[in-house]
């Protein structure tokens, strides 16, 4: 297949401009259509190029469809390719015209040249016209059996295309079964890879409709198939290797020797120049070793160097993608990276999005031994002429201070920032000093001395102004001129556009009044008057509240507005641990770059072919999603408030968070800790049946929840249907619709845990008690199960989400029931069954 002899070094078609040209093209094409004169092909090529050029820039050239088809009777492969491209682009919107092409495409599918057979088949499958699918089945079937591997690779993708045009045609022709056969037998690795991709997609989509497809989908994760693919691993192209690695990372090996075999086999992939291969391998290694703490840590150590190399080789874009993943790992296990902090120093020519990630990493890895150097480096950035960078760096310094290392030196640095007399530096620093004081009140003396020297006229940004005002109110007795500064600010009430600042002004002036009444009285009166007349609802309300409180009793007002405060020990984290874990589960995907789990940015139908584990997640989210997502965002939004503004309530919230915070988020912190998310969601939208465990917290938060309904009367003894049946879809739907009726933490027998090497053992056990499992997942020490059971006499169903932690022997239960009155009885039944696990 030598290229055509003539060269076509003629000038390129000029950029066509519009309609006139299209009709010109039409005429010229028509003239050439029947011509057999020498040189016709050259002329056609030029015309075809013009047409495709129009197409690319968005000019509609569908009107020359029939002429293009007429001209396509040629043996020139370049012409054919252009024609296929054209047809593929316009067929969907011109189904009638598309019919014209079927003939010549079908004929080409039987050409003796495999290249032409492949090209024609690909074009035929790309027409995307529903009523032409009948013409596809024959050529596709032949293509899958073709002796040429190129044709077979095209045909395997063709099956997937057909599936997307018409699912039923594809399934009726039994193409998936053929693909499965090819996947296991074809000698061409690319055919195998394409079969794998196609089957993942097809069965992934079919699984929601049929039991059979769902089983088929599981067989993709069966040991024989996984081993088959791994044995042929080196034959695959680097891209196909990524697909295989992704599949393998969902496979659950039965024992540790299997895990080590896989890791040894794939170890050299960490040295691949293609970042996609390396990240896919890392994901697999991390998943495989989740339950082996020490090996998991070794994996972290092992992947450090390859990741750093990928960050520094390749383009800035690829480097960013890798860096995002490194960022995730650093956030999970900062201590592993604490000696590598210099790698996270920013380079002056890096884009801001890279610098931002690096600053966060620097903040995370700071510890006793490196804080001094890191802060010194950050101070360089703070003096930077690049203002956004300077701001971020100051925030980073502040965050490190809040992490409690070397606070003394950092406070000094922060105070030096204030002396730089750059407005943006001053603004950021004020906000930080305020946060520091909330955490370390012992520094107030040093800070206040410096802050007192700042003229409020030089502070314009609302956040900074609010911080300054807060300090004026809080430390009124230490700052000589606090009442007068406040007074002058109140005089300019009308010019103050930020409601946040006005709110702070009100609070500060009231606080100041309690400490230095004679000096502040005048300012207080002015502030309350201005506040009550404020057009902003919150300002108005707060002013009125203060006014009435003061009128009622000044000392009570003081107790309400300015009670003694406890220092904040830990500010609330921005992301719940459950969300962090979910992002970690979605390692090597966009979730890591966006720092959001996929359900937050992807439509359901696009969630990927293999969303099994995700689905379990989604199941649990069905109900939680509103409760779960919203608080997350709320916290995010609120975080700034938490850190930047102050309303006294939030402080107590911060400390509560601390008290309930679980042990440091280690690298093996795969514990989903769902109870914590619940905590957060509770103060936001209390569920009527609040579980007892979390109840005390609500009281602490002072939300004054109405006491939960008294426990339901003892229900009659519950009998379960031994042959209960529930479709996965029905389960999902129910799970979404029903409220949680019981949420409880219980423990599981250690003997039971000991034999729980895989989820299967527990599933069998529960089945013996007529409680059936519909989905399960996870690896030691965390397993997640979805069970269901039905009443013996009536079609009333119970749904259970059960999270077992095999290392702590703790079990989290969430029970939902059609008939809520019996859920307590069911819960007892469930727990008694669970408690017998390990003894039978």
């Amino acid at each position: 297949m030598a290229p055509p002899a003539q060269t076509n070094r003629s000038p390129s078609p000029s950029q066509p401009s519009g309609k006139g040209e299209v009709s010109d093209l039409k005429t010229q094409l028509r003239q050439l259509a029947g011509s057999r004169a020498p040189g016709t092909d050259d002329a056609k090529r030029e015309l075809f190029k013009k047409v495709i050029s129009c197409m690319t820039i968005g000019i509609d050239v569908s009107s020359v469809f029939s002429e293009m088809v007429m001209c396509s009777a040629t043996s020139d492969i370049v012409l054919k390719k252009m024609c296929y491209l054209y047809v593929g682009n316009y067929a969907k919107h011109n189904p009638d015209l598309a019919l014209l092409t079927i003939n010549f495409l079908q004929r080409d599918c039987k050409d003796e040249d495999p290249m032409i057979r492949g090209l024609a088949l690909r074009s035929l499958c790309s027409l995307r016209v529903t009523n032409l699918v009948e013409y596809l089945v024959g050529p596709l079937g032949a293509g899958l059996k073709d002796s040429n591997s190129y044709v077979r690779t095209v045909a395997t993708m063709g099956v997937l295309k057909l599936y997307h045009i018409s699912e039923s045609t594809c399934m009726d022709a039994d193409f998936p079964a053929t693909l499965k056969h090819l996947m296991l037998n074809d000698r061409e690795a690319q055919v195998v890879a394409n079969c794998l991709c196609a089957l993942q997609e097809i069965w992934g989509l079919e699984a929601t409709k049929s039991e059979e497809a769902s089983t088929e989908r599981e067989t993709l994760l069966s040991k024989p198939l996984i081993y088959y693919l791994l044995n042929r691993f080196k034959e695959f192209s680097e891209w196909a290797q990524c697909a295989v690695l992704d599949l393998v990372s969902k496979y659950v090996p039965s024992d540790s020797s299997e895990i080590f075999d896989m890791m040894n086999l794939l170890e050299d992939r960490l040295q691949h120049a293609n970042g996609a291969v390396v990240l896919a391998t890392i994901k697999l290694f991390l998943q495989l070793t989740l339950s082996m703490a020490d090996i998991h840590q070794q994996v972290y150590e092992r992947i450090k160097a390859p990741l750093l190399t990928l960050v520094s080789s390749g383009g800035p874009e690829q480097s960013y993608a890798v860096l995002s993943h490194l960022h995730l790992l650093v956030m999970r296990a900062p201590y592993i990276f604490s000696a590598d902090y210099k790698h996270f120093y920013c380079q002056y020519n890096e884009p801001f999005y890279v610098k931002k990630l690096k600053l966060e990493m620097l903040t995370a890895v700071a510890n006793e031994s490196n804080t001094y150097e890191i802060v010194t480096e950050l101070c360089e950035y703070a003096a930077n002429v690049d203002i956004p960078m300077a701001r971020e760096s100051i925030r980073a310094v502040g965050k490190i201070a809040l992490q409690q290392y070397d606070v003394n030196a950092i406070v000094d640095r922060l105070l030096q920032f204030l002396e730089m007399e750059k407005d943006h530096v001053t603004a950021e620093t004020l906000v930080l000093v305020k946060d520091l004081l909330r955490k370390y009140p012992q520094w107030s003396h040093d800070c206040i001395a410096v802050v007192g020297n700042i003229s409020s006229k030089n502070v314009q940004e609302p956040k900074a102004k609010a911080a300054l005002i807060w300090m004026l109110g809080e430390y009124a007795q230490d700052m000589q001129d606090a009442p007068y500064v406040l007074e002058s600010l109140i005089e300019n009430w009308e010019e103050e556009h930020s409601a946040e600042v006005r709110l702070h002004l009100l609070t500060a002036v009231v606080k100041c009044f309690f400490r230095r009444p004679p000096e502040t009285q005048k300012a207080l009166g002015a502030a309350l008057a201005a506040g009550v007349n404020d057009f902003h609802q919150d300002v108005h309300d707060r002013a009125l509240l203060y006014y009435r409180l003061l009128q009622y009793n000044v000392s009570i007002a003081e107790r309400v507005v300015n009670p003694p405060k406890q220092a904040v020990s830990v500010f609330a984290d921005t992301q719940s641990n459950e969300i962090k874990d979910r992002i970690f589960d979605e390692f090597n995907s966009l979730s890591v770059v966006y720092q959001k789990p996929s359900y937050m940015f992807t439509d359901k139908e696009h969630r990927g072919p293999f969303a099994f584990s995700e689905e379990i997640g989604n199941l649990s989210l069905g109900e939680e999603s509103t409760d779960n997502v919203v608080p997350a965002q709320r916290i995010e939004a609120n975080d700034k408030d938490l850190l930047l503004s102050t309303s006294d309530k939030e402080e107590s919230k911060g400390s509560i968070h601390n008290s309930s915070a679980y042990s440091a988020p280690g690298y093996d912190g795969s514990l989903a800790a769902p109870s914590q998310t619940d905590l957060v969601s509770l103060d936001y939208k209390p569920t009527p049946n609040v579980p007892s465990a979390t109840f005390a917290i609500d009281d602490l938060l002072g939300l004054g929840l109405p006491a939960a309904a008294s426990p339901p009367p003892p229900p009659p003894v519950l009998k379960l249907n031994t042959k209960a049946a529930l479709e996965p879809n029905a389960f999902q739907q129910k799970w979404r619709q029903l409220p949680i009726s019981i949420s409880q933490e219980t423990s599981i027998n250690p003997q039971g845990v000991a034999i729980m090497t895989s989820p299967q053992t527990l599933i069998h056990h529960m089945q013996g008690h007529s409680i059936h499992c519909i989905a399960s997942g996870g690896q030691a020490p965390n397993f997640k199960f979805f069970f269901y059971a039905q009443k013996a006499e009536e079609p009333s169903t119970y749904l259970v989400e059960c999270v077992v932690n095999s290392s702590s022997c703790k079990v989290q239960l969430k029970i939902k029931a059609d008939d809520q009155s019996t859920s307590q009885a069911f819960s007892e039944l469930f727990q008694s069954a669970l408690s017998k696990f390990g003894f039978s």
Partner: protein, 452 residues
């Protein structure tokens, strides 16, 4: 899987547009371009390479000023897509010889041909220039290579170095030489990008070398190649030595790589024994090996900055650079930049008497001093005096309002790591077979910064 692939010019026109799955609505190119263009104005900075608009994920890489973009609705591996985009650019360059807007526009049919084979229904089929050869029938329309800068780090050989044939780098893998005969040759480039941060006292705070051994083979029949590196090359830092405190003085001792990775064609069987790489080079340009070094090395340039205040509204900046490499080596396209205080209103420059090929500029918009030097010979030093006039009184600490000084440069036939290709052996087909071998070294500044 990706849904669409397209290439946009700097102005946002689609040069090629290929829809693979039809699940992303029309107008995605416009949505993408608007988003990228207005990212800054929406309060952010530069648009990140990946973002999501209305459930569609947009991935892009910038290559020679063009935007290579892919869209997808699924939660893909960002590394995979960005790497793919970069590879597509590389494959196109292999075929067209030169990659730029002009060559793309002239050859868009060939590009479509490539795109059809590289991706099918959103799944990557192959990005191997070699494999693709049998599916490609269009011949590239060559453009005048001299006019526009080509893609890739090898481009730096185009300037200033007499030893390489400039056209070779812009040769298409499919086009024949004008004479009809193909020249047998192979290029091995050792490209090192260096990053250094000097403290205000001239002490090296951090330094790193990011190196690549890049290969481009025009050998017929794909013979096996052996590439021998320094025999005492070490890989991975030994246990006790952590981070940057490795104290070997530059110029002696073994080269130690922190880490490296390899192209998939490379056989490492004898690498552990004698540091040779064996490979059958595929067609087209590809990195044989990437490596990273944090071992200390001798910086090619030293930078001295002195700021003297002269009254409340005036100051003088004295910049001095010293080339600390051998005198038979010449650095080219040197640019020294320094941000000045924002209240700087006017700058007058004073170069050393008799200098040629140096220009100075004060960029009013971002208050930046720029000093460019065409050539700097090893061992020489150069000084620039800049007199600044301020529009307001300085707060007395100009060093906090200006700097740091940064530098970019290219130094051909020099590499600070001392990593070497000791020999390049080509499996012989016959006695007369003696192809041209080009082994070239070059060093480029990545982030070269001196604080003041």
């Amino acid at each position: 899987m990706i849904s669409q692939f397209f290439v946009l010019s700097q102005r946002g026109d689609s040069i090629v547009f290929r829809d693979y799955r039809g699940d992303v609505p029309k107008g995605s190119a416009e949505i993408f371009f608007r988003k990228v263009k207005f990212w800054k104005e929406d309060g952010g900075e530069e648009a990140p390479p990946v973002f999501n608009v209305d459930g569609v994920n947009y991935f892009h890489v910038k290559v020679v000023g063009l935007l290579f973009v892919a869209t997808s609705r699924t939660n893909l591996s960002p590394s995979l897509v960005l790497e793919l985009l970069q590879r597509i650019a590389r494959v196109i360059k292999d075929y067209l010889g030169v990659l730029n807007e002009d060559s793309l526009r002239k050859n868009f049919v060939l590009v479509y041909e490539l795109l059809d084979e590289v991706v099918d229904f959103g799944y990557v089929q192959t990005t191997s220039t070699e494999i693709l050869k049998s599916y490609i029938f269009n011949e590239p329309i060559m453009i005048d290579a001299g006019r526009l800068p080509p893609l890739g780090p090898a481009a730096m050989f185009m300037q200033g170095s007499k030893r390489m044939p400039g056209t070779a780098i812009t040769k298409s893998v499919v086009a024949n030489e004008p004479g009809g005969r193909k020249r047998e040759e192979i290029f091995v480039d050792i490209i090192e990008k260096i990053s250094i941060t000097f403290s205000s006292s001239g002490y090296i705070l951090t330094s790193e070398i990011d190196g690549t051994i890049q290969m481009k083979s025009y050998l017929t029949g794909n013979p096996e190649i052996k590439l021998a590196l320094n025999e005492d090359l070490g890989i991975g830092r030994a246990g006790g030595r952590s981070g940057y405190d490795y104290g070997g003085s530059a110029g002696s001792g073994a080269v130690v790589l922190d880490d490296c990775n390899f192209h998939e064609s490379v056989q490492l069987d004898s690498f552990d024994v004698d540091r040779t790489l064996t490979l059958v080079p595929p067609d087209g340009e590809f990195p044989v090996m990437n490596y990273r070094i944090t071992q200390e090395f001798k910086p090619p340039f030293r930078i001295n900055t002195l700021i003297e205040e002269a009254g409340s509204l005036k100051a003088e900046v004295i910049l001095k650079i010293r080339a600390e490499f051998p005198s038979d080596i010449t650095a080219n396209t040197i640019l020294v930049q320094m941000p000045l205080p924002t209240y700087t209103s006017r700058v007058s420059f004073e170069l050393e008497p008799g200098t040629v090929g140096q220009t100075t500029d004060f960029k009013e918009s971002n208050k930046r001093l720029e000093w460019s030097l065409k050539k700097v010979v090893g061992g020489s030093d150069h000084t620039l005096r800049a007199k600044l006039t301020f529009s307001q009184e300085s707060h007395g600490n100009i060093t906090k309002e200006a700097g740091p000084v940064s530098m970019t440069f290219t130094i051909p036939m020099y590499n600070p790591s001392r990593l070497q290709v000791k020999y390049l052996q080509i499996a012989k087909k016959s006695k007369t077979y003696n192809p041209y071998r080009w082994v070239r070294y070059v060093t480029q500044a990545n982030s070269y910064v001196a604080r003041i």
